[in-house]
Structure formats: C-alpha cells, structure tokens
Amino acid sequence: MSISRADHAPALVGAATLLGLFALLELAIRAGLVDRYVVPPPSDVVASFARIVTEEDIPHRFAQTALEGLGAAVLIALVGIPAGLLLYRHMVLRVAVQSWVAALAAAPLVLAYPLFLVIFGRSAMTIVMMGFISGVAPVTLKTLEGLSATRRVLIDVGRSLKLTPAQQFRLVLLPAAVPTIFVGLRLGLVFALINIVGLEFLINFGGLGQLINELAERYDLAGTYAAIAFVVLVSVLFFLALERTERWLRPGR
C-alpha cells in the first residue's frame, strides 16, 4: 500500500499543483484581478475543448503537427547521432566545427524560414526541415559529449576482449552514451516542436500552429488556449515515448 502510494505520489502532487494553479487563476479572474479578455478563465478553456475538437478538426490538425514532429525527430536522430560519432572519431573535424555546431544550436533559426519556403515551398516539408535544422545541433553535441565521457575502463574492457570498432561502438560506447544522447534528443525535440508550431503559425499552413493563429485572429481566447493545450499534449506524448525508449535501450539506471 505504502509502496504504491510512493510510486504514484509525484504524479498526484503534479496534478494537484496544476489544478491548484488553475483554481487560483480562476479565482483571480473572477475577482477581477486578471483581465478575462487577456487570459480566459480555465473553466471556459475546458468548456471549449469539445467545441474545437468537433468544429476545428482537432484530430487531423493534431495528427499533422505530431507527424511533422515525428518526421523532424527521426531526421534529428538519424543525422545528429552519426554526426556526433563523426566528431568523436575525428579530432581535427571536432576542433574545426564544434563551435560552429554550438553556435547553430543557439541561433534563432526560425528567422531563416523564408529561405526554407523558397527551397521546399509552402508545404509540410518546409516545417519538418525547420524542425530538423533547429533540433539537430543539440543532439550532435550531446552525442559527442556522451561518447567522450565514456569511462576509459569500459573502453579498455572492450579492447581487452578484442572487440572490433563496430562492436566497441554498439556494445560499449553507444549504451554508455545513451543517457546523454537522450538529454540531447529532449533538447532537440523541444527546439523542433517550438519551430514546427511557430512556423505553422507564421506561414498559416496546417496543424495546431495554424489553428492557434486562426482562433487568435477570431479573438476566440478560450479556443486559443485549448489549442495550446493540445500542443502541450503533443510535447508530452513525445517525451513519454522518449522516456520509454531510453529505459528500453538503457536499463539498470
């Protein structure tokens, strides 16, 4: 009983905190401390969920944003992890480009969207590529960091057993670096999702970002915040999937 309670305690405390904050906000709005034309009461936002799901085609928009996020995430992992490995293996390349990659991670890449529009047109591909470009640098850097931080003795165990370079990577380096790589993937995914929703908003193309734009222009504040809640849901789903994948790839932590 007590173990089960301890297991669920963080989730319960988290939910209670959120509900408490919403209750406080509701009270503040009803008491006139917060302008309801700037921030709608949480009860109005909850009430608008059903409306926007049916009237605004939420399932389709949700799927579109989620798929764009998934596409970007797959590209980020497929390019970012090998790029990190490449920098780990080649010292000269690492010294030459590491600071550029770090600069890329910190740059406001969303400002480059006109260039992507020219290259890929006003399409989902532009959005996916913007997400990919903004998220790939942290994954590359964190992969490099994770591989470089692998304890020397674990590498020596592999060497003493005459592992091939491929075995050394697959059986020692990669599992050792998984926790750090996943920190990079989380960061990359955050950057990617911000840029994906931001670009949907900016170019008014598909997904939840476009819906937020439309609802805001209609001054449907409750609907706008409800749509934002669905963006948060996309993010939560991605993070849960990442957590599961990490636990599967790297048990025993």
């Binding site: 020596d156 165990v157 003493s160 057993l161 059986l171 020692v172 932590r253």
Partner: protein, 285 residues
C-alpha cells in the same frame, strides 16, 4: 581419498619446474611528456609458471599499472617482449583475461549479461553462454543476483562480477590490477579468500598487481617486488606457506615474517616515493 583441490605441501620436488606460460622479458616503457622523457618501467624481467599465483608489488607510482597494461596488450612497450607460451603478444591476447582496478561492470547489463559478455562477443549461442555464465556467477558466490543490475550491488559484489566476467572467457592467465583497492579491509580479506579458492579450484594461473603486502603474501606463491620510479625488478620472494590458504594464514608467524621481509624491501622505495611526491608538491606551490 584426498581432496583434489588441495595442493600438497610441501610440494613434491619435481624434476621439471612448471613451464612458464607468461614471460615478461626486459620490458622498458618510456613516456614522452612536454618537458622530458619519463621511464615508467625499466627492464623488468620475470616469468609466470602454469597454475601459479604471482603478485607484483611496489610503492605507489612505481609503474605497476603500466606493467599491467603492457602485459594485457593495451600499451606497447618501448622495448622488450611479453610472450604467452612462447608467442610474442602484440595487443590484447585471448589467453589473458584482465580485471581492472576501477569498477568496470556495464551498468546497463544484468549480472548474468555482464558475465556472459565475453562469450556473446565470441558469438556463443545465448543458451550456452547463459548456462556458462550461471556457473561462473555461482563460483564467485553471486547466485540469486543474476537478474540484478550493478547499481543494485555493493562495491565488492560488482568487483566479483568483473572477476566472473573475466573467468567466463576461460583465460589461461588471469591478470588483475589491484581489484580490491577500492574496497574496505574486511571485504578485501573475504574477496581474497574467494579469489584464492577459485584459483585453487581451477588451477588458474594468476598475476596480481597490488600495493598491499598482506594481500600479496596471503595469495601468492611468489611476489615480484618493484622499486620506486623507474619501476625496476628489485627481488622475487618465494612464499613458502601451506596450501590451501585462507585469510586465517595471516595469524601465523611465517606470514608475519614474509610481510616484514617484503616491507624491508619496500620501505626505502616507499620513503623515496613519498619524499619525491612531497618535493614536487612543494615545487608546485
């Protein structure tokens, strides 16, 4: 009927000395630093005989771990040769199984998967390698912990997993670098007993690098004493104590005699090492 694991003592005089399975021949290791060339190991020569337990002891910084890496094939010596059954080694050799000083289990693998790792690398089928791993896990006294991860084990248990992993590869020579250095005294004694028991059961040729005189005398047939930097061979001491041994041997007069004798060899070297370390610390500040 006599116990097959008991080695008779005094040992019967044999016409032929047990053959050498490992020879360290005139090993010299020099490292180039920014300012100078440093000799870590200087012309070390000794051999390890079949079934023997031999320890290499020396003061901190004498090049013991460098020698460990040379014998394990992880460092190429500046000159000299290490041979296994007459075959010169260039790089890690399958006949030599290494146990490292630092904790070296893979945290993402269970005890059983850690121990089965060398067999997995060799392509042994899952059924066979897990069966073999279970046997070795039992040998090191970790039955019941097969499904645990290293984070769920104590330091001593983790080091036993490392030893079991090395034993699973059935090396001709077990090469260990201060495997108990990070453990408390009581755990060290108990693990020493365990290692000795395994060594006597398997007749496992074992080379232990250590800085503990009592550990060296408790476990070894011979002790190779090294000088302080550069690490040279100072003396090889035959430990004429009865087998099978346990940590109880430490209460005997003969044990105390060997410890005093080796300490006599090491005291001046250790003092020199301490003085040099203090001088270099003083120069830095």
């Amino acid at each position: 009927m006599s116990d097959p694991t008991v080695v008779p003592w005094p040992r019967p005089v044999s016409a032929a000395r047990p053959e050498s399975v490992l020879t360290v021949d005139d090993i010299l290791v020099r490292f180039q630093t920014r300012d100078a060339s440093v000799t870590a190991v200087d012309r070390m020569t000794f051999d390890v005989r079949h079934g023997e337990f031999i320890s290499v002891i020396g003061p901190s910084g004498c090049g013991k771990s460098t020698l460990f890496n040379v014998i394990g094939g992880l460092i190429t010596p500046t000159s000299g040769l290490v041979t296994v059954a007459g075959e010169p080694i260039r790089g890690p050799h399958p006949a030599i199984g290494m146990v490292f000083q630092e904790e070296s289990t893979f945290p993402w693998r269970t005890v059983l998967d850690n121990v089965a790792f060398p067999l997995e690398v060799r392509g042994v089928s899952r059924r066979v390698r897990l069966e073999k791993a279970r046997d070795v896990v039992a040998m090191v006294g970790l039955t019941g912990f097969e499904g645990h991860y290293p984070s769920e084990l104590s330091g001593g248990m983790r080091q036993r997993v490392s030893i079991a992993r090395t034993l699973a590869s059935e090396p001709k020579i077990l090469l260990m670098d201060e495997p108990f250095a990070a453990l408390d005294e009581q755990t060290r004694l108990l693990l020493g007993d365990k290692v000795l028991q395994i060594q006597q059961t398997l007749k496992q040729t074992t080379l232990l690098i250590t800085h503990s005189i009592t550990e060296a005398v408790q476990l070894s047939d011979r002790v190779v004493v090294m000088s302080y930097r550069p690490g040279r061979l100072k003396r090889i001491v035959d430990i004429d104590l009865p087998h099978p041994r346990t940590s109880e041997i430490m209460t005997s007069d003969a044990f105390g005699h060997y410890v005093a004798e080796i300490w006599g060899d090491l005291r001046d070297e250790a003092s020199r090492g301490m003085a040099e370390a203090e001088a270099s610390r003083g120069a830095r500040t």
